[in-house]
């Protein structure tokens, strides 16, 4: 038959049956559970209980400590960090974003770019340099990170390192952006790469993390629509609420200036001005701040400046107000709907954007020739010019400057304004600030007159004046702060640098300087008549007075209580006076209503009083600058070498420190070696840490909790795949702060992050113990007493260890009794006699001392980290020490011990009973001869053997009979026992049943009471 004729039977897929079912479930991705009923509720009382417990547990798991969002209504710019390996397209992305938001070209990038992105939102976009220090610093302040990934190359280690840094220092939002997608020619390959990279990205962040694809370039920027989409995603990202950032004020310096006196030598300490927005918390003058890579400083002065990139709503509101003042237009009330061109402000000092460049000295405005209309050049006759140009020229050429002209009374620049001549305005002059008042008035005029853009310095000056004037005006009205704090309230206003330095604070703080309190009565009478108005009691002038909170005499205490005074007091302060019972009841009801809600806030029970207070107190606090302020922070004595290293491209961060965070001490951290780091970490091998704002090198000591938290045991190396504790010397930080460890941050082939963890506790001292075994040898033994040598080297040491427990290797326990001589020998007693060959061991725990090594990382080229032990060995040519005793794994092979034979004296031997006698003669071995020799028994022997044989037989028979009898008896007994047992079982069953019924009833009752059914 030819096989070609008949077609082969095709394979038929199974449509039913076990195999088909399996395939189906596999396709759906469902895994069959082994025991699907294991975690369900099957009914019954246990089940109910379990369900209740389960739901409660789930609820409890959901409970989180409430986070308080401190960001004000107008938040500071949202910080967007653009990170990626070199050549991935970071600058291009920023340029595209700037073009999208501000419709301007970013020609050259240098430092952060702040721009308005929406009605409520401003962005600060900053590019992350490749240096690890910059990556660390930026991770600490980023609100959103754009992770750029070169799709044509794949993921690079930096990306993963940066993600890890972010995770430790508080996770901000992360958006991945794939670039260089145009290098894929084939669509299928592109799709594959996108998919695989997406999944890898998800594995690192979370499933569903957003990954953008930027397909290619157009006019040197990314495609408009793709950037628009990205911008939409940026717009909806929320700032993360991270405890460190919520509790520490910080500033990302958008601009910095070296304001040192230029006559000083270059190496002298610098005065540094940093400009930026306040984030995280209130920034107060005089607090300590940390400048990563530079050091700790006390803020010498802060000044609030006008916002260079004001939020659109504010500018709009101002514009509307101005229009309303002018009366040209009816002020619109509705909110800002869209961003107008004028709202799209960009503040990018250091970058070339549009036409303005700012460097540390000056600001340059690039005006294209075709727009330079009012600049006089080689031009035509003035008469040929248009009229407007002629007028402006005339103004340019006028001799008097504006303020001179403005002294003439009738100058008007803007309609509806009048210019007051200085000098004779009516204002209540405060004696100490009279001079400044005039200046302030001048400032006012200038304010009113001038509407044009002025140079930045001018703006600053003007603001300073305005602020100080405001502060003065503010301070004048109440007088009360002045009375308490002395007349120097302007110290805390907008003016900068006037707060006394700690060194000479003596004058500012001491109560000498407040003469108001010396003879308070006179002053009071002058300031405001009436006894009630005095804000202070008693005399404060006494330097060595009695330090007591209780006042020896209260005012009004010695006055007589006549009827009228009594009545007045009763009416004012007692419920019995003029307080009707109806009101009281009402009050009580109110209280009851409120009580369950907020019991602690008893003070707020009277809503009227609260409202009243709120009305009377405007929330203006003179100390510190709130979140969102644009400020200039001045730092003094900044090392010149560090300032010389500051670059525009490098992020400069000013991190505020809380009280006690610059104190040095030991910090205990729970740390885990990073699984991608190739090596274990070694105790007291230098480690670079990034904790809080700081980066420093320190010597860690690893340890593990032993015996249920009783003891911290020293570890030579970190555990391989588990957490252990690290203790190191450094500035104290609050618990729950993230810690990142590096061995070095040189660019290497492997993952640089070598450990991550969290701070557990900071304290001046910790105890980490390690085992110490002191070994000695006996040199004289008397029964249970032995004399031991070589364990200690002096009698002093022995005395220190008196009554310590010791032990031989074989396990005979003993105690150190007394020193013997001065060479460290001692007498010890044991529970049994020890041998001369025994080793005596004293097991103890000693505290591991911590090395106080703290080496802050400075961002200067000369800075070098302390070398690691391996590096030192390599440099010195020292081999790794190899002590055979310390080797693991290899079992020690000990020679078999040979003991001397026991010798029993002959006299003793003779007196012993046979059983206790030494069996000295050994059992005779059968020799070959004896084995071979035939045994020929004599007649008598035969007879004896025969007799013994018969006796055995008789005994056997007797035993058999006895066995039979006992078996019989046992059987009978068994029957009887079974009968009794059955009776007993039945009874027990009955009793059990009754008990269960009773329990069930009880349980039903309980369930009813708990309303579980």
């Amino acid at each position: 038959m030819e096989s070609g004729e008949k077609p082969k039977k095709t394979h038929k897929k199974r449509a039913a049956g076990q195999k088909a079912k399996k395939k189906k479930t596999k396709q759906l991705g469902k895994v069959e559970k082994h025991n699907p009923k294991a975690h369900t509720f099957s009914g019954g009382k246990r089940s109910v209980q379990r369900r209740v417990q389960y739901t409660l547990e789930r609820q409890a798991k959901k409970d989180k400590a409430p986070k308080v969002d401190k960001t004000p209504e107008v938040p500071p710019p949202f910080i967007v960090v653009v990170q990626g390996p070199p050549g991935v397209g970071k600058t291009t992305l920023i340029q595209s974003l700037v073009k999208h938001y501000a419709k301007q070209r970013l020609i050259a990038m240098g430092g952060p770019v702040t721009l308005v992105s929406g009605r409520h939102r401003r962005l600060t976009i900053i590019e992350c340099p490749q240096a690890m220090s910059a990556m660390l610093d930026l991770a600490k302040i980023a609100d959103l990170v754009l992770l750029l990934i070169d799709a044509s190359y794949g993921f690079e280690l930096e990306t993963f390192e940066f993600i890890n840094i972010l995770q430790v220092h508080g996770f901000p939002r992360v958006i991945g952006v794939l670039t260089h997608l145009d290098s894929f020619k084939e669509n299928k390959q592109l799709r594959k790469v996108k998919k695989s990279m997406k999944h890898r990205f998800w594995a690192e962040l979370y499933d569903g993390a957003k990954l953008f694809y930027l397909s290619g370039l157009q006019y040197g920027r990314y495609h408009r629509l793709e950037i628009q989409n990205l911008a939409r995603f940026i717009a909806v990202q929320k700032a993360p609420l991270l405890s460190w950032r919520q509790s520490h004020p910080y500033v990302l310096a958008l601009r910095w200036e070296d304001q040192t006196d230029p006559t000083l030598p270059e190496a002298s300490a610098r005065r540094l001005d940093l400009y930026g927005y306040v984030y995280g918390g209130r920034l107060r003058e005089g607090i300590e701040v940390h400048l990563p890579g530079v050091g700790d400083f006390n803020i010498a002065g802060i000044k609030k400046l006008t916002d260079p990139c004001p939020p659109p709503q504010e500018t709009e509101a101002e514009r509307r107000r101005a229009q309303a003042r002018k009366g040209d237009e009816k002020p619109k009330k509705n909110a800002l709907r869209t961003l107008a061109e004028r709202h799209r402000v960009v503040y990018a000092p250091g970058s070339e954007i549009g036409s303005i460049t700012v460097d540390s000295e000056a600001m340059y405005i690039y005006v294209p020739d075709q727009q330079a209309g009012f600049t006089p050049g080689q031009e035509k006759e003035p008469s040929e010019l248009p009229e407007a140009v002629r007028l402006v020229r005339a103004l340019q050429e006028s001799e008097g400057s504006l303020d001179k002209v403005s002294e003439k009374p009738n100058l008007r620049l803007v309609g509806n304004t009048t210019v007051r001549p200085t000098g004779n305005h009516e204002r209540r002059p405060a004696p100490e600030v009279a001079e400044q008042d005039e200046k302030e008035a001048e400032g006012d005029e200038v304010d009113e007159g001038e509407e044009e853009e002025a140079a930045e310095e001018d703006v600053e000056e003007r603001d300073e004046e305005m602020l100080s004037a405001a502060a003065r005006r503010f301070a004048r009205a109440p007088k009360l702060e002045e009375m308490v704090y002395g007349s120097g309230t302007e110290q805390f206003g907008g003016s900068s640098g006037s707060r006394a330095q700690p060194e000479n604070l003596g004058t500012a703080t001491d109560h000498h300087t407040v003469p108001l309190f010396e003879d308070e009565d006179n002053e009071e009478a002058e300031a405001r008549p009436g006894e009630k108005s005095s804000a202070l009691l008693g005399n404060l002038g006494d330097l060595d007075g009695l330090d007591s909170a209780r006042m020896p005499k209260l005012p009004g205490e010695e006055l007589a209580w006549d009827e009228s005074r009594k009545e007045a007091l009763k009416a004012r302060k007692f419920i019995t006076g003029g307080w009707s019972s109806a009101e009281e009841e009402e009050e009580d009801e109110e209280k009851e209503e409120k009580a369950p809600a907020e019991d602690g806030e008893a003070a707020e029970e009277n809503p009227e009083a609260k409202e009243d207070a709120v009305q009377t107190i405007p929330d203006v606090f003179l100390d510190g600058f709130p979140i969102g302020c644009f400020v200039r922070v001045r730092l003094e004595d900044v090392p010149a070498a560090c300032v010389a290293e500051l670059r525009r491209e490098k992020p400069i961060i000013l991190g505020g420190l809380l009280a006690g965070e610059s104190r040095m001490g030991l910090v205990q951290t729970r740390i885990k070696r990073h699984r991608w780091h190739p090596k274990l970490l070694k105790s007291s091998d230098a480690l670079l840490l990034s904790v809080g704002w700081r980066r420093f090198q320190t010597l860690p000591v690893f340890s593990l909790e032993d015996r249920g938290e009783k003891r911290m045991r020293y570890l030579k190396y970190t555990l391989e795949h588990a957490h252990c504790t690290m203790t190191c010397y450094g500035p104290m930080v609050p618990p729950n702060t993230g810690v990142l460890a590096f061995r070095s941050w040189e660019k290497v082939g492997h993952f640089r992050v070598c450990g991550t963890g969290v701070v557990l506790e900071a304290a001046p001292n910790f105890e980490v113990k390690k085992k110490l075994k002191l070994v000695g040898e006996p040199y004289k033994i008397f029964r249970n007493t032995a004399f031991i040598k070589n364990m200690f080297s002096s009698d002093l040491e022995v005395n220190k260890y008196m009554h310590a427990k010791i032990q031989t290797v074989s396990g005979i326990r003993g105690e150190i009794k007394k020193a013997e001589g001065v060479k460290g020998q001692f007498r010890a007693s044991f529970e049994d006699r020890i041998l001369m060959s025994d080793l005596v061991v004293c097991k103890c725990w000693i505290t591991v001392p911590f090395k106080e090594f703290y080496h802050p990382v400075l961002d200067v080229p000369n800075w070098r980290p302390a070398r690691l032990i391996g590096e030192l060995r390599a440099a010195q040519g020292v081999p790794v020490p190899d002590n055979p005793d310390s080797r693991y794994g290899k079992q020690l092979v000990r020679p078999e011990r040979r003991f001397n034979p026991l010798k029993v004296p002959k006299s003793l031997q003779a007196s012993l009973p046979f059983s206790a006698k030494q069996k000295l003669a050994p059992k005779k071995q059968k020799t070959a001869l004896t084995r071979k020799a035939a045994i020929v028994s004599s007649e008598r022997e035969k007879a004896v053997n025969n007799l013994i044989q018969r006796l055995y037989t008789i005994r056997k028979e007797k035993a058999r009979v006895r066995q039979q009898a006992s078996d019989r008896k046992r059987k009978v007994k068994e029957v009887q026992d079974r009968f009794i047992q059955e009776k007993r079982d039945a009874h027990m069953k009955e009793a059990k049943k009754n008990r269960h019924v009773k329990e069930g009833q009880k349980d039903a009752k309980r369930r009813k009471a708990m309303m579980m059914d």
């Binding site: 202070l536 209580w561 609260k610 606090f621």
Partner: protein, 368 residues
């Protein structure tokens, strides 16, 4: 890391406790010079030295040095440890509340909850008495969220001059201090108090109570004063008697006053005059406006200044006592917090102080 360049400098021995406490809490070193330089006994008094020693017991890692003349004290603060089992014998020159007031400011931010046993004088004329500390000072702390495990027990009473009293004080720890508003004073609804007698006739207590009630019942019927007569072991070494009164308003603010007789002095006060004196002092305290009384102003201001930054704290006070005013200045020096002080227009006698706290958190505590 920082030298003493960061230190704050003061002169004079007054308000030593405030300076040391604020230095400890803010971590800034302090140098106090010119401590009684022209006195017959220059330098620290025994109670001040004892307070410094107590602070040293409470803290770890602090550095205290006093120069040869004894007139300059340098203090570099450490970490507040707390813990149980602390025992301190205080000199009889000051009342135990002198020490307790200082402890109270630090203990909530310690590493471990504090339990301390203090021995010395429990009631004296120049300080707030221990009874007032229990009935008026501790309830104030509840407003800041320091409530559970806060306890105070007078085991033995000790009157000056020999003392011999003993108290146990325990205080929990907190993560941070909540910002609060204390604006509503409210009217007085009841007066409670304790009259104690030790080593004198128990009749004295009844006489003091009678006298105090005689004054206060003109204003209010709800006056109840407990009597506490110490016997045997609980007596201390000297005879004495006194009374402590606390007025509670419907807004649950407390005002306290106390008085005690010192037997050894020449002009001995009769129990009646002690009672009357305390009652009148209480009336004077009530007469002054404010949510807290003069003795507790500085305490409340201190806790307000430590509060979290999330919202402003407000407090209505009467005129400031010297220690409160000095506390405000010290707070400005150490923490940089400046209170805004406004005269309250609704109630002419009082001022409203408000501030945004420094956001001090308990960095010493251990996490897991």
């Amino acid at each position: 890391m920082k030298g003493s360049g960061n230190a704050l400098r003061y002169s004079g021995s007054n308000f030593l406790r405030q300076r040391l406490v604020l230095s400890t809490i803010s971590g800034r070193p302090v140098v106090i010079s010119d401590i009684r330089p022209k006195d017959e006994e220059p330098g620290l008094r025994d109670y001040e030295a004892s307070f410094v020693r107590l602070l040293d017991k409470l803290c770890d890692g602090s550095d205290i040095s006093i120069d040869e003349t004894g007139t300059t004290l340098k203090y570099r603060p450490g970490q507040i440890i707390g813990g149980s089992g602390l025992v301190h014998t205080c000199p009889p020159s000051r009342c135990l509340t002198y020490f307790l007031e200082g402890l109270l400011l630090l203990a909530p931010l310690a590493k471990q909850p504090l339990t301390v046993r203090l021995k010395g004088v429990t009631n004296s004329a120049e300080d707030v008495s221990c009874d007032t500390f229990r009935t008026a000072t501790l309830p104030l702390l509840a407003k800041f969220g320091i409530e559970e495990q806060l306890s105070f027990k007078i085991l033995k009473r000790g009157a000056p001059p020999l003392g011999g009293g003993e108290v146990i004080f325990s205080c929990p720890i907190v993560k941070a201090i909540q910002p609060i508003e204390l604006l509503n004073e409210g009217k007085v609804k009841r007066v409670r108090g304790v009259a104690y007698t030790t080593k004198v006739s128990p009749q004295f207590a009844a006489r003091m109570v009678d006298a105090a009630r005689g004054v206060l019942n003109d204003f209010l019927p709800d006056v109840w004063v407990y009597t506490d007569h110490c016997k045997g072991e609980a007596c201390g070494n000297s005879p004495g008697y006194g009374i402590s009164l606390v007025a509670e308003t419907i807004a649950r603010s407390l005002k306290s006053a106390d008085a005690c007789a010192s037997i050894s002095e020449e002009e001995e006060m009769s129990p009646e005059s002690v009672g009357t004196h305390a009652a009148q002092r209480l009336l004077a305290e009530i007469d002054l406006d404010g949510v807290v009384d003069t003795a507790h102003q500085s305490l409340v201001l201190y806790f307000l200044s430590l509060g979290e930054e999330t919202k402003p704290s407000r407090l209505r006070l009467s005129r400031l006592s010297p220690s409160a005013a000095q506390m405000l200045r010290h707070i400005r020096d150490f923490l940089g917090v400046v209170f805004q002080i406004r005269e309250d227009h609704g109630d002419s006698g009082s001022v409203v102080l408000s501030c945004i706290g420094a956001g001090i958190t308990n960095t010493a505590r251990r996490t897991f």
